[in-house]
C-alpha cells in the first residue's frame, strides 16, 4: 500500500505552534487540541504504515528471488535450486498473507485519519491506489495460488511463468504506489475543479511520471532486493555458523553475498541521484537531511554527525568535512548552497528527525557495502564458507534492510512536511475532524493488536528459517492451506497421507 501523509511521529509542526494565540484561552485550548489530534493521526498512520511496509518490501524482493531460483532450476536441473525455491516459497506465502491483512487497514486509514486529503486528492491518488489494489488482487486471485501449490498440477513451464508473473506483479504494485507518493512529493499536471478537488489537467501520464517518480521507484525496488538479499544472507550465515554446511545453505549464502556486493554500490549511486533530484524539487528536505541551516556561499561542508537545533538554527557539536557537502550535491567544492534560513520558517521540515533518519539509512548502506566487499575478499581467498567474522556480520545485518528502508521513508515523508502535497496542501489541512481521544484510543488498540498478531507471524517465519533447507524439501506443509481461492491440491493429498 501507499506511503503517504505524515510519517513523522514526534514532531509538532512549527506552523502549528505558531497558531495558538496566547491572548485567547479558549482558542488556544482548541488549537492545542487540534495539534494533539493531528499528531496522533500522524502517529497512527506512521505506525500502521511502517508495520505494513515491512511485508511488501520483503515480498517484492523475495518474489524476484523465487523467479531466479526456479529459472536456474529449469536451466541447470540441479535440485538444490528447487529445494531453495520450496524453502523460500513457504516463507513467501506467510509474508504475503500478513501483507494482505495489514494492507486492508491501509485502504481505510486514508479516510479515517486524512478525510480532507481523501476528498480533495482522491481524484488523483485514488485511481493510482485503486490500480495497486487491482494488481495485488489479481495477483493473489491468480498466479500466487498456482505458484505456491501448483507445480504438480500445471507442470514446470507454466509454473515458472506464474512465478515470473508474481514477481512482475509485485513490481507493478510498487509502480502504482510510488506513482501516488511521488505525485504528492512533486505534484504536477493538476488543476482544481469546482469542488476544489485536484484533478489531472494534462492526462494521466503527466500525473504518473512526475519528476521524482523514476528515482523513487528504482531506489525503492532496489531497496527491496537488497533487503531480501540481507535476509537470505543472514539465514545462510546462521546455518553456516551452526555448522549446517550443506550445498543449499552455501548456495543461498553465496547468492545473497553476490547481491550485496553488486547491488549495494548501485543503490548508493541511485540514492545519490535521487538526492540531487530532491535538491532540485524539494530543497528544504535536502537541507534538513544535511543539517544546513545557514547558507554556505563558498561551498557547504558535509556534516557527519551533530545535534540539530532548529530554535537556534544551527547544528551543535558537529563533526564536518569542509566543502564535501557541495562536492556531493553540486559536484564542485566551492559551489554555493542555500540554507534553511533562506526559506520561510513555516516551510521547514522537522530537521532532527530528517537529519537522523537519513544518517541511519546512509550508515546502514555503508555497512551493506562493507559486507559486500568483505564477501568478495572472502571469495577471492576461498573463505566464503569458513570466515566466521563474515558470517556474523551477515547475520547481524539480516534486519538492516528493513531498518534502512523505514529510515529512508521517514526521511522522504517527514522531509515533505509541513505538506502532504508538496507546496500545495498542508498536513494540518488534510486531517480528519476526529478528536484527539478517539485517535489516541484507536492508536493504542492498533498497537496491541498488531504486536500480538504480527509478532506471532514473524515468529513463525523465524521458526521456519531456523531449519535449514533440506534435500528434497517438501513442496507444502501437510495441513490444509490456502491462497486466495486456488486449489491447494497437493496440500490436500498431503493432508490425507
Amino acid at each position: 500500500m501507499s506511503l503517504a501523509a505524515g510519517v513523522d511521529a514526534n514532531f509538532v509542526s512549527p506552523v502549528y505552534v505558531d497558531v495558538s494565540p496566547s491572548g485567547n484561552n479558549a482558542k488556544g485550548l482548541q488549537a492545542m487540541h487540534d495539534e494533539a489530534a493531528l499528531l496522533l493521526a500522524r502517529s497512527q498512520f506512521a505506525f500502521t504504515l511502517v508495520f505494513h511496509f515491512i511485508f511488501p518490501s520483503f515480498t517484492i524482493g523475495l518474489a524476484s528471488y523465487l523467479a531466479v531460483l526456479e529459472g536456474l532450476w529449469l536451466r541447470t536441473r540441479q535440485t538444490l535450486y528447487l529445494d531453495l525455491f520450496r524453502y523460500w516459497a513457504k516463507i513467501f506465502a506467510i509474508n504475503f498473507a500478513m501483507g494482505v491483512v495489514s494492507g486492508i487497514v491501509m485502504s481505510y486509514q486514508f479516510g479515517t485519519n486524512w478525510s480532507v486529503f481523501s476528498d480533495r486528492a482522491g481524484p488523483i491518488v485514488g485511481p493510482l491506489m485503486a490500480y495497486e489494489v487491482l494488481t495485488a488482487f489479481f495477483l493473489e486471485a491468480g498466479f500466487l495460488g498456482v505458484m505456491i501449490f501448483g507445480m504438480k498440477k500445471v507442470g514446470p513451464g507454466l509454473h515458472f511463468f506464474a512465478t515470473c508473473m508474481v514477481a512482475l506483479g509485485t513490481c507493478i504494485s510498487a509502480f502504482w504506489i510510488i506513482a501516488a507518493n511521488s505525485w504528492m512529493q512533486t505534484p504536477q499536471g493538476w488543476t482544481l475543479n469546482s469542488a476544489h478537488q485536484f484533478v489531472p489537467s494534462h492526462g494521466w501520464p503527466t500525473v504518473i511520471f512526475t519528476p521524482s517518480f523514476p528515482y523513487r521507484l528504482i531506489h525503492t525496488l532496489i531497496a527491496s532486493f537488497l533487503t531480501t538479499a540481507l535476509v537470505v544472507g543472514a539465514v545462510g550465515a546462521w546455518h553456516l555458523i551452526r555448522g549446517n554446511d550443506t550445498p543449499q545453505v552455501r548456495k543461498m549464502f553465496s547468492m545473497a553475498m553476490w547481491m550485496a556486493a553488486l547491488v549495494a554500490p548501485v543503490q548508493i549511486l541511485v540514492g545519490d541521484q535521487h538526492g540531487l533530484n530532491t535538491l532540485e524539487h524539494q530543497p528544504a528536505k535536502v537541507l534538513a537531511m544535511e543539517g544546513d541551516y545557514r547558507p554556505s556561499p563558498d561551498g557547504a561542508p558535509l556534516i557527519l554527525f551533530g545535534l540539530p537545533d532548529s530554535a537556534g538554527a544551527q547544528v551543535k557539536a558537529k563533526i564536518e568535512i569542509p566543502h564535501a557537502g557541495s562536492l556531493i550535491l553540486r559536484h564542485d567544492p566551492h559551489a554555493p548552497l542555500q540554507g534553511l534560513t533562506d526559506l520561510p520558517r513555516n516551510e521547514w521540515p522537522p530537521v532532527p528527525i530528517v537529519f537522523w533518519s537519513f544518517r541511519i539509512m546512509v550508515g546502514l548502506a555503508t555497512l551493506m557495502l562493507l559486507l559486500g566487499l568483505g564477501s568478495l575478499w572472502a571469495r577471492v581467498r576461498g573463505q566464503l564458507y569458513s570466515w566466521g567474522l563474515l558470517h556474523r556480520l551477515a547475520l547481524v545485518m539480516g534486519p538492516a534492510g528493513f531498518v534502512a528502508t523505514t529510515a529512508g521513508w521517514v526521511t522522504t515523508e517527514v522531509g515533505r512536511q509541513p505538506y502532504t502535497i508538496y507546496h500545495v496542501m498542508t498536513t494540518a489541512e488534510s486531517v480528519s475532524p476526529i478528536a484527539a481521544p478517539g485517535v489516541g484510543v484507536s492508536l493504542v488498540a492498533f498497537a496491541i493488536v498488531y504486536f500480538a498478531a504480527f509478532s506471532a507471524g514473524i515468529g513463525y517465519i523465524l521458526r521456519l528459517m531456523a531449519h535449514p533447507p533440506a534435500t528434497g524439501e517438501p513442496d507444502h506443509p501437510d495441513q490444509p492451506i490456502h491462497a486466495a481461492g486456488i486449489t491447494p491440491a497437493p496440500a490436500i493429498e498431503g493432508g490425507r497421507a
Binding site: I104, A121, V199, S432, H482, P488
Partner: protein, 336 residues
C-alpha cells in the same frame, strides 16, 4: 471531464455495490463460521468447520479492499465523510479482521496455543460482523454533514437502531455459515450446523422484520419511498418475497435439504440489499449526498474503469474456478 460524469458515477456505484455484495455473500459465511465456532466441540468438528473455508477466505476478504479502495477512488467525498463518521466501528472491524485472519493461519501452525487462536477466531469474526452491521445501521439512520465534512460527534454511530442492525448481521452471517457447513460437511459437524440453522433462520427473519419496520421511521423520505402511492405497489414486493423465501427456507431445513438453505439464505440477503437500495438510491449518504455529488471527476472514474473492466472478470473467473475445484464435501483433513 474534471467534473463528475453521471453515467460513470452510476456505473461505479454498481461496481462498488457489487464488490460490497460479493464481500457480504462470500466473507459472510466465513465470518458466520467464526461466530458459531465456540458452539462446535473442540477437535475434529472445529477442524472440519475451518477446513471448509480455509482455501477461500482470504480471496473473499479482498473484496473488502476493493470496496474501500474503490470508494476512495470513485467517490472520494463519500469516503471522506463516512470513514470519520463511523471511525470507531470501522477500526473495530479492521482489528477484528486482523485477528480473524491471523488466527486462521496460526491455528494450524501453532497447535500448542490452539485454544488461544480459537478464541481470537471467534472474537475477531464476531466483532467484525457486529461492526459491519452497525456501520450499515449508522449509515441508514443518517450522518450529520456540514459542507464537505462529517460534523457529528464521536458516539453518533451508537444507537438502539445500530445495535439492532449489528446483531441482525451477526445472526445473518451465523445462519449463512451454518448453511454453508450444511452444504459442505458431513457427519457430526453437519448435524450441529443443522441444529444451529433451525433456530437461526427464524431469528434472522425476526431481525429482518425488526430492521425493516424501524427503517421507514428513521428519515422522512424513507417513509415516502416505501409507502407513498403508487410506489407501494412496487416496494411491497420486497417484503412479500421475503416472506415467501423465508417459508421456503424453513421448509428446506425441516426437509433436511443440504444445499437449498444456503442459497435461500443468500436470497434473503439479496432481498435485504434490494430493500436497502429502495431506501437510499441514488444517495450514498442517505438524505445528504447522492452518488452524482460524491463522484470523482469523469477523468478519474474513466481511467479506473479501464482497469476494472479488464481485471474484475478475470478475478471472477478465478474465484469461480476455485469454488468449482472445492465443490465437494470437506473431510476431516481437507477437501476430498
Amino acid at each position: 471531464m474534471i467534473e463528475p460524469d453521471p453515467t460513470l458515477a452510476l456505473i461505479w456505484a454498481c461496481i462498488i455495490a457489487f464488490a460490497i455484495a460479493a464481500y457480504v455473500f462470500m466473507d459472510g459465511f466465513d465470518l458466520g463460521i467464526g461466530i458459531l465456532f465456540p458452539f462446535f466441540p473442540v477437535g475434529k468438528e472445529r477442524d472440519q468447520a475451518m477446513n471448509a473455508i480455509a482455501p477461500v477466505w482470504d480471496g473473499n476478504e479482498t473484496w473488502l479492499v476493493m470496496g474501500g479502495g474503490g470508494l476512495l477512488a470513485a467517490f472520494p467525498l463519500a469516503y471522506s465523510i463516512i470513514l470519520p463518521a463511523l471511525y470507531p466501528p470501522i477500526i473495530a472491524m479492521l482489528l477484528g479482521l486482523v485477528f480473524r485472519g491471523v488466527a486462521f493461519e496460526f491455528r494450524w501452525r501453532d497447535p500448542r496455543h490452539r485454544p488461544v487462536w480459537d478464541v481470537a477466531f471467534f472474537v475477531g469474526s464476531t466483532v467484525a460482523a457486529l461492526s459491519q452491521g452497525m456501520i450499515l445501521g449508522a449509515l441508514l439512520q443518517g450522518i450529520h454533514v456540514e459542507g464537505r465534512a462529517y460534523a457529528g460527534g464521536w458516539w453518533d454511530w451508537l444507537t438502539p437502531f445500530t445495535v439492532l442492525a449489528g446483531l441482525s448481521l451477526v445472526i445473518g452471517y451465523a445462519l449463512l455459515g451454518a448453511c454453508f457447513l450444511l452444504w459442505k460437511t458431513e457427519g457430526l459437524v453437519h448435524e450441529d450446523a443443522r441444529r444451529h440453522a433451525r433456530y437461526l433462520a427464524p431469528l434472522l427473519v425476526l431481525a429482518i422484520g425488526a430492521v425493516s419496520l424501524a427503517t421507514p421511521f428513521l428519515q422522512g423520505h424513507y417513509y415516502r419511498r416505501w409507502f407513498a402511492w403508487p410506489n407501494v405497489l412496487a416496494t411491497a414486493q420486497v417484503p412479500l418475497l421475503v416472506i415467501i423465501v423465508a417459508g421456503l427456507l424453513f421448509w428446506s431445513l425441516a426437509k433436511g435439504r443440504e444445499r437449498a438453505p444456503f442459497f435461500l439464505t443468500m436470497a434473503l440477503f439479496l432481498l435485504s440489499m434490494a430493500g436497502l437500495a429502495v431506501s437510499i438510491f441514488p444517495d450514498v449518504i442517505p438524505g445528504r449526498v447522492s452518488i452524482y455529488e460524491a463522484a470523482a471527476p469523469g477523468v478519474s472514474q474513466g481511467f479506473m474503469l479501464v482497469g476494472a473492466v479488464i481485471l474484475i472478470p478475470v478475478i471472477l473467473a478465478y474465484t469461480g474456478w476455485a469454488y468449482w475445484v472445492f465443490r465437494g464435501k470437506v473431510g476431516e483433513a481437507g477437501y476430498h
